[in-house]
Subunit: 182 residues, 2 copies
DNA sequence: ACAGCCATGTAACTCGTTACATGATTAC
DNA sequence: GTAATCATGTAACGAGTTACATGGCTGT
């Protein structure tokens, strides 16, 4: 059993294992502050279609929300949790895939002005600083529940991983800038 | 002009700017030792279909090879080089996208045994070590032409970037293992 | 009243993959 | 002779995106 779902499907299912029920819209928001940093945050339309598939498989259940407007809130089912666990336990993680357009362009540095490559890296450093701010804000949100055994222990670990990764990229980019400007 | 090509198309075109002519098969091999580390190495079939598109656009030209068997060797054209430069100069690089299945699984650590998470990280460390060996071999191949202004100056920079990235990931994973085992 | 967010979907399309198919050359 | 590598493609499919369409609720 399991396995015949795109990883993004399991990822979304995983975002529903933190005890609450979410609308598709809210799930997308959660993906934007979590999945985005080490996976991809799926498009709105994919969130809905993936939820529809999970629902059909009985892995989540949608209920009418009790807000002022008509909504559907999704909760993971016991079966969904079994599937997810079984997937985690019986499949290999595999190696990360990085799509790094800055590195790709650096590779082709012989085709453009040196100044162009320099401003490419500078721009990347600025983007990195912004991403770091965003992720630090997420990290702070988790602060009150990040102890051993607490609800946000593992999400906190992942956030710390992301922060360390950004710090590393900043260091690398700065060194590169030195190498390019001297 | 430019722009209406998948990035992978430009990447393959870029691999043809190092002065030689390659068959689709050889281009795939070059992608495997370069693109793979910071982009994706496209499937064989995509290399051929992308080459066909580039040829149709006049960005590369295929010629009959002079080996003992019938082959087609591709070379970038002057137009192709103009397109590629124009693409590099007129479009934004964008932020890297990381698909990190290990981080994704760590996020869901509350669903599995602690030992399972530990061996997940250990496995990742082993994979990282292997990738590092592979990339170090590539770096060594570039060693004789990696000076300022030389042919492999920028590829060398990218390889160094990759090596620093792997080192950073190793450090992070080891720290994580400490946090998980104590 | 109007902008902005909340909320949900459908349709068309592209990228990229796997599976399949073919055959020639080289090394043992 | 036979396995591995070189070499080139086609076909079917799935993941994921953008564009489009709709409409209710909230704050100013």
């Amino acid at each position: 059993m399991s396995q015949e779902l795109p990883v993004t499907g399991y990822a979304l299912l995983g975002l529903l294992t933190f005890g609450d029920a979410l609308t598709g819209y809210e799930l997308k928001q959660r993906a934007d502050i979590t999945l985005r940093f080490y996976w991809t945050s799926p498009a709105m339309s994919q969130v809905y279609s993936e939820l529809a598939r999970l629902d059909e498989l009985g892995l989540v259940r949608g209920r009418d929300g009790d807000g002022s407007r008509p909504t559907t809130v999704y909760r993971i089912t016991a079966k969904g949790e079994r599937w997810l666990k079984s997937w985690l336990e019986s499949t290999e993680a595999g190696f990360p895939v990085l799509k790094h357009p800055v590195a790709l362009r650096l590779l082709l540095g012989h085709l453009v002005d040196p100044e162009h490559t320099i401003s490419l890296i500078e721009r990347y450093l600025a983007d990195l600083a912004q991403s770091r701010v965003d992720l630090e804000a997420v990290r702070e949100m988790l602060r009150d529940e990040d102890g051993p055994g607490e609800r946000m222990e593992h999400p906190s670990m992942v956030a710390d991983w992301g922060l360390a990764h950004y710090a590393s990229e900043q260091r690398i980019a700065r060194d590169l800038l030195d190498r390019l400007t001297k």
